[in-house]
């Protein structure tokens, strides 16, 4: 053996021992336990940091304490995982995997934040706007692909054309990236490494990733069963959704519920006020006055305003509420739904019955009727705003024509009403209903068509044999058979109607929208984002949700009951 090889051999031996050590389960476990200590320390520090924050985004002490406690969860998980993997328990490995994985994902999100990727989307939009012509390159590529798709399969021109299309697309993409400043963007990202924070977070991700991966490979060592293996695979697949669900659904939902019991505003942190918001919203008072004359306000307690009065015999019943606008908006919303249901469902059913015939071209018409449902409500509402125009709008013009025709042909003196649809208190709401009904008819038609296609033909034949005419068939076969569909359509229409916001916002030009056209969600918007009464607005939201929940529950119950008929 030459001295030369001896010199080279020694480091190689060291390297080999290191590799063996690195792959040995006990080292991976020890490293994970050590890393868990870091996690505990980091988690406690984060918790203390959150606890000591000034103001805490105006969310109040309770939320701050909650979040700071939640920041301790990783510490607890890490402690348990350390203890359990030390005892070589499979559950400890699962815990460790979870901690490492979630830690890696959250740090990666934080790294992207440090890199400025999230806020950088604005710059991407700006650059795309400046160089939008390049986007046509993609259109050209797509067109070439489309043409290629028409050619015979595997023919030379087709392959060639596809390659050209791919080339055009790639060149466009690269050119676009260069022009938009991709190089500079990479430079910007690299320059964030002048901060220690960025290095730290990158390091943390690497450690989380490596340790997690090593732990993952120790399945056999920990005696992992196939079921356990499947389980973590399932969680892994679900994780993007589950993490997003926690951050953007479950968390806000809890916060919303909490806020509805506070007096949170744009300036003040929330103070817990119990059910005060709900009491204010729901407070209602019914009083009877002896005579129908006089000020109805007199009958009510302080803080209550007159909502409605009606006369019964020689007495007058006065209904008062603390928040009359809420009740008024709720009433508008309910009236809206009550008008929307027949106006959107009867035409939809009629159209579906016609479209269900076996005549060619029905799919074409079905698509036509569906068009209003795919267009942006804001856009269609603006169209309708001009159709409703009192002076030059087509709706008043059509009414004038009809009135004139009736007057001329029947010799009547009917007055042309010349409605001020969108400014007159009495027509605002119905204007919104027409727009919404128009928008939803096509959608309901498709639902009805699906229901109608489920009616067995044999029933019609049986009815025909029994001497039922068209109406009889409709009355005794179609209607009962599609009752579940009808019910579903009614309920979904009501649920959509209860949440109506875009239609009034875009259709009615005045700001704020006058009370007769104020729907519940618009009221929520006004209290929450005009007056910045976040707590109160949350309470409005939960009350509305309660109503929707009841409607859904009824639907659920009835459709369940129907299923066992």
């Amino acid at each position: 053996m030459s001295p030369m090889s001896n010199i080279l051999d020694r480091p190689r031996q060291h390297l080999d021992t290191l590799k063996t050590l690195w792959r040995s389960p006990s080292f991976v476990i020890d490293a994970n336990i050590a890393w868990n200590h870091v996690i505990v320390a980091g988690s406690v520090m984060l918790s203390l940091y959150i606890n000591g924050m000034e103001g805490f985004y105006n969310l109040g002490d309770a939320v701050q304490r909650f979040v700071s406690l939640a920041a301790l969860v990783p510490a607890i998980l890490a402690v348990f995982s350390s203890i359990l993997i030390n005892r070589r328990r499979a559950i400890g490995r699962t815990l460790s995997l979870a901690v490492n994985y979630i830690g890696m994902v959250l740090s990666a999100v934080y790294l992207l934040h440090l890199w400025g990727v999230f806020l950088g989307i604005d710059s991407v939009a700006r650059a795309l706007h400046a160089h939008w012509q390049w986007l046509l390159g993609f259109a050209v590529a797509y067109a070439l692909f489309w043409v290629a798709g028409r050619l015979r399969e595997d023919s030379r021109p087709r392959v060639l054309l596809e390659q050209i299309a791919l080339g055009v697309g790639m060149i466009t993409l690269i050119a676009l990236l260069l022009i938009m400043g991709a190089v500079q963007a990479v430079g910007d990202i690299l320059s964030t490494y002048s901060r220690v924070q960025t290095w730290l977070v990158t390091l943390v991700i690497v450690v989380f990733g490596t340790l997690g991966y090593r732990m993952l490979l120790l399945g056999e060592y920990f005696g992992e069963t196939p079921d356990q293996r499947t389980a973590w695979q399932g969680w892994l697949m679900l994780s993007p959704n589950a993490i997003g669900f926690m951050l953007f659904f479950a968390g806000p939902l809890l916060l919303s519920f909490y806020l509805s019991f506070t007096d949170s505003t744009g300036v003040n942190p929330p103070n817990f006020v119990g059910t005060a918001n709900y009491r204010e919203l729901l407070a209602i008072q019914v009083k009877v006055q002896d005579s129908p004359e006089g000020d109805p306000q007199q009958a009510l307690d302080r803080g209550y305003l007159v909502l409605e009065t009606f006369t019964v015999g020689s007495h007058r019943v006065v209904i008062g509420a603390r928040d009359t606008q809420f009740w008024q908006s709720l009433r508008n919303t309910i009236v809206f739904c009550l008008m929307l249901v027949p106006l959107s469902i009867i035409p939809a059913l009629a159209l579906a019955l016609v479209l269900n015939s076996k005549i060619p071209g029905m799919n074409f018409f079905r698509a036509l009727f569906f068009l209003p449902s795919v267009a942006a409500v804001v856009g269609t509402a603006l169209i309708w705003r001009w159709l409703y125009n009192a002076n030059i709008g087509y709706i008043n013009y059509a009414i004038s024509q009809v009135v004139q025709f009736v007057n001329d042909s029947l010799g009547l003196g009917v007055k042309d009403p010349k409605y001020n649809w969108l400014t007159d208190n009495s027509t605002m709401l119905i204007s919104i209903v027409f727009l919404a009904a128009w928008q939803i008819i096509g959608f309901n038609t498709v639902l009805f068509l699906a229901g109608l296609q489920g009616v067995p033909r044999i029933l019609y034949e049986a009815a025909y044999v029994d001497g039922a005419g068209r109406w009889g068939q409709f009355r005794h076969v179609t209607l009962p058979m599609i009752a579940p569909t009808t019910f579903f359509v009614v309920v979904t229409t009501i649920i959509t109607g209860l949440q109506v916001f875009n239609e009034p916002y875009a259709l009615i030009p005045q700001r704020p929208i006058p009370l007769p056209a104020t729907t519940s969600v618009y009221y929520l918007y006004r209290r929450g984002f005009f007056n910045f009464e976040f707590g109160y607005a949350s309470a409005v939201a939960w009350l509305l949700f309660a109503i929707i929940f009841v409607v859904t529950l009824i639907q659920f119950r009835i459709s369940r009951a129907g299923a066992y008929d």
């Binding site: 999230f118 806020l119 989307i121 604005d122 939009a125 795309l128 706007h129 939008w132 079921d227 389980a231 399932g234 697949m237 679900l238 993007p240 959704n241 589950a242 997003g244 953007f248 659904f249 968390g251 806000p252 916060l255 806020l259 159209l351 016609v354 005549i359 018409f365 079905r366 698509a367 036509l368 009727f369 569906f370 068009l371 795919v374 267009a375 942006a376 409500v377 804001v378 856009g379 603006l382 169209i383 001009w386 159709l387 002076n391 030059i392 709008g393 087509y394 128009w438 699906a450 949440q499 916001f501 875009n502 875009a506 929520l524 929450g528 976040f534 949350s538 939201a541 509305l544 949700f545």
Partner: protein, 410 residues
């Protein structure tokens, strides 16, 4: 018999087509109105009775200037004439029977004569109508078609002079406002330029970017989540699935306030990212994908698993290619949802922050700044509405099947 039923069948078809045609016309009229109005000139929008087609005035050269052309019928011949800019005083004469005492301008005019051709006689006549109103009217003497007549002066007015530039002897007088201008159909495509220049170009790019981000994100998370829910059994899965289903029921307005606060807390308010990232996690899409994955035979997957295929590989090489219809359905739904969304952008971006507007926001703003220009508002509406309509037309098969099977709300 055969003949009769055939005839009957065709008659039924005809009736169905006519009925559906009328319904389709009514349903699509707002869009027709939008398209035509978006191509109108600003001067052409405030007309009564309204008309659909965009027109613009025909002009021609006259004394070195482009001037509008008006149509007159003189001595049975149609002539296209232009304004000379001159005016001439006219007297409008009526008879004692035709005079309207309380509103002389509404009298029955029997002669309309230049002032110099009518001579006042100096006399006046007092006319009293059935209601007992009475007024004095000057008596004029005019020669009409060789006959000299004594008529009452209803009113005087100055009329605009029109000339036929091809035949300068022919001159006529009329009120310009009521003269029949010559018009032709003229599409003002420049409206689209104008409106795109009013921030809608930026909004279009933003909307496309946001829609792309949301759609891609939703499909990715839904495919993973749907696969886990459909095919990977693990403890607690069904409970989580129920939670997911329940979350569909919760309306967005419940989340509005805390989501807004959350965005403010992490510094995402007014930023496009707030329109993308919170929306790429969807219970609906996950549910849709799960339902589809359940229909794929288990045997294929089990064989692949026995061969040592990883879950990710199975998902990518077996499930994703097989579920093109479901993915297409979800892509279209998400596209429409993201493209048309309004409440959340309104809250988080606001009407004022123009560079980060999406189309719906810019459209509302356009409707405020162009409140008296319906043609521009309709142009904006067309820009916002056409892309989803095109996507729908191209992919309506997936779309309508998607609704019919899941009852999804668009």
């Amino acid at each position: 018999m055969q003949y009769g039923t055939l005839l009957q069948r065709w008659a039924t078809r005809l009736v169905v087509y006519v009925v559906l045609g009328i319904c389709a016309f009514l349903m699509l009229f707002p869009f027709t109105y939008m398209m035509f109005t978006s191509l109108k000139a600003s001067g052409d929008v405030f007309r009564y009775p309204p008309r659909l087609l965009p027109y613009s005035a025909v002009t021609r050269q006259y004394q070195g200037q482009e001037v509008p052309v008006y149509r007159f019928k003189i001595d049975g011949k149609e002539r296209e004439m232009v304004l000379t800019g001159q005016k001439k005083g006219f007297v409008f004469l009526t008879t004692e029977e035709g005079v309207n005492v309380s509103a002389p301008r509404q009298s029955r005019i029997v002669a309309q004569v230049p002032e110099e051709e009518a001579t006042p006689t100096g006399e006046t006549v007092t006319v009293t109508d059935a209601l007992g109103n009475s007024a004095d009217f000057e008596v004029y003497q005019v020669t009409v078609e060789g006959q000299t007549q004594r008529l009452l002066l209803a009113y005087r007015s100055r009329l605009d002079e029109f000339i036929d530039p091809d035949d300068p002897q022919v001159v006529t007088y009329a009120v310009q406002r009521t003269a029949k201008a010559v018009e032709r159909v003229d599409l003002q495509f420049s409206n689209y330029d104008t409106v795109l220049g009013l921030n809608l170009d930026r909004a279009l790019i933003n909307t496309a970017l946001v829609t792309l981000g949301v759609t891609v994100g939703q499909v990715v998370t839904s495919v993973f989540g749907g696969y886990a829910f459909a095919r990977i059994p693990f403890k607690g899965r069904d409970t989580i699935f129920l939670l997911y289903l329940g979350s569909i029921m919760i309306p967005f307005m419940v989340l509005v306030v805390p989501m807004y606060k959350l965005m403010v807390a992490i510094g995402w308010e007014n930023r496009l990212v707030s329109l993308i990232v919170p929306w790429i996690f969807t219970a609906y899409g996950t549910f849709l994908m799960r339902q589809f994955f359940l229909t794929i035979p288990k045997e294929i997957e089990e064989a692949a698993l026995l061969d040592g295929c990883s879950r990710l590989r199975i998902l990518w090489t077996i499930f994703v290619p097989l579920s093109t219809p479901a993915v297409a359905t979800q892509v279209i739904f998400t596209f429409l949802y993201a493209w048309n969304s309004f409440l959340w952008p309104l809250l988080i971006i606001g009407e004022g922050n123009e560079p980060n507007h999406v189309l719906t926001l810019s459209l509302i703003r356009l409707s405020n700044i162009a409140a008296d220009k319906p043609n521009l508002v309709m142009t904006g509406a067309a820009i916002a509405i056409l892309p989803p309509v095109i996507v729908f037309v191209l992919a309506q098969k997936y779309f309508i099947e998607g609704i019919a099977t899941s009852g999804l709300k668009g």
